[in-house]
């Protein structure tokens, strides 16, 4: 779609109002006599991000530990609770954390679309590939002991499972979750462009004009 240049910077504009996008009660003039509440959607949609001197250092400290924990859960799934799914979700949550501390748009630029797509697609291909390789060896789907690697039978099973968990499931889960996060942050409009701009007239319906 042809919208990447036009609106990609809209989230960083006008950050004077709105505290990290959530829970803020930005003072805005009310409109409509029937509504007593304040409608601050345009403030939210325009600027979900404000630098916070509390959140940024906190995330700076916590993120490495959380990411390491995600890696541990992923790589140590064979010996302790957890596995690729949980570890992938934790690692994606670290990216969410960074995005809320340093801005979704900045995080999106730092973590290119290629990485997100590569994780999701690559994970699926690795998972399917391992299964199909064992089928080409005359076995069943994911019959790990037939993997053509120079290891003992039990190690072929163990490392085959770890490969599926780490390279397959963790990649898919973290990639797709990050992708959903970035997509939801961008939003939707019927023109195929991103929301967040041009909604200043749509004060009462709260959604995208169609």
């Amino acid at each position: 779609m042809s919208d990447r240049s036009g609106s990609s910077d809209s989230l960083d504009d006008g950050t004077s109002e709105g505290i990290d996008g959530f829970g803020d009660r930005a003072p805005s003039d009310t409109d409509g006599p029937s509504r007593t509440g304040r409608l601050d959607s345009e403030v939210r949609q325009g600027s979900p991000y404000t630098e916070s001197q509390v959140i940024m250092p906190t995330v700076k400290v916590v993120a490495p530990f959380a990411f390491t924990y995600g890696l541990f859960v992923t790589f140590h799934g064979g010996g302790s609770p957890g596995g690729g799914f949980q570890g992938g979700a934790i690692m994606a949550a670290v990216v969410f954390m960074i995005a809320f501390a340093f801005g979704i748009e900045a995080t999106r630029e730092w973590l290119a679309n290629t990485v997100v797509v590569g994780l999701a697609v690559g994970g699926t291909l690795v998972f399917a590939g391992i299964g199909i390789v064992t089928m080409t060896q005359g076995g069943a789907f994911l019959q790990y002991e037939l993997l053509p690697v120079p290891l003992s039978r039990i190690n072929r099973v163990t490392y085959g499972m770890e490969a599926v968990e780490i390279l397959g499931i963790a990649s898919i889960v973290s990639g797709v979750l990050m992708g959903l996060f970035f997509l939801l942050a961008r939003g939707f409009s019927s023109e195929g462009g991103a929301s967040g701009t041009g909604d200043s007239t749509a004060r009462t319906d709260g959604g995208d004009d169609r």
Partner: protein
């Protein structure tokens, strides 16, 4: 759960929880309260946040009942990722300040929910007690006990849950992984975008 004659375990150590402990009881109260607040909160933002707390309470409860794999999934996906995605969605929508904190209770809906609750409650008499070594899901020689006995010899990993997911039921897991992948593609299609941005 008390009053059930818990038979002594055999060779395999059995999880035995004979009494409802204070931690367990407070977790139950917390989970029920947060669930009610989630259903009744008028402000969607408040409902989402309390729902996250509910998920965290459920994760603690799963940990307490020795299902750490489920607990980690609940904590990471339900309490973490889902809450963040819901908050992100709310940030995109209009939020109205409400004068009152809670919805008024819709009596027909509450009646239907109450009937369902009573119906489910009636089935609990048939559910084996927590830690009951004779529970079918546990004492089954061909399935559960076989996995517990054979997993390490067959796969070389100690976590039977992971062994079931990645090896014994690997094809099912492949289907689930593809569903996750397809969810990402589906959102791209629905939003009419070609990049995750």
């Amino acid at each position: 759960m008390s009053g059930v004659d818990l038979v002594a375990a055999g060779s395999v150590p059995q999880p035995v929880i004979a009494q409802v402990t204070a931690i367990e009881a407070s977790l139950f109260v917390f989970v029920v309260l947060t669930a009610i607040v989630t259903a009744l909160a008028r402000d969607v933002l408040a409902a989402v946040i309390v729902f996250g707390a509910y998920s965290l309470g459920m994760a603690a409860l799963y940990t307490f009942y020795r299902a750490p794999d489920v607990a980690m999934t609940e904590a990471a996906i339900s309490a973490g990722v889902t809450t963040i995605l819901l908050l992100l969605t709310l940030a995109k929508t209009t939020r109205i300040d409400h004068e009152v904190a809670f919805e008024s209770v819709n009596l027909p809906a509450a009646g239907a929910a109450g009937l369902l609750f009573v119906g489910l409650l009636l089935t609990t008499a048939e559910i084996p007690a927590v830690g009951d070594p004779d529970a079918p899901a546990w004492s089954n020689v061909d399935v559960t006990q076989w996995y517990i006995a054979e997993t390490y010899a067959e796969t070389g990993v100690e976590n039977a849950v992971m062994a079931v997911l990645a090896a014994f039921r690997g094809f099912d897991t492949f289907g689930e992984a593809v569903v996750v992948f397809a969810a990402g593609i589906a959102v791209l299609v629905v939003l009419r975008r070609e990049v995750f941005a």
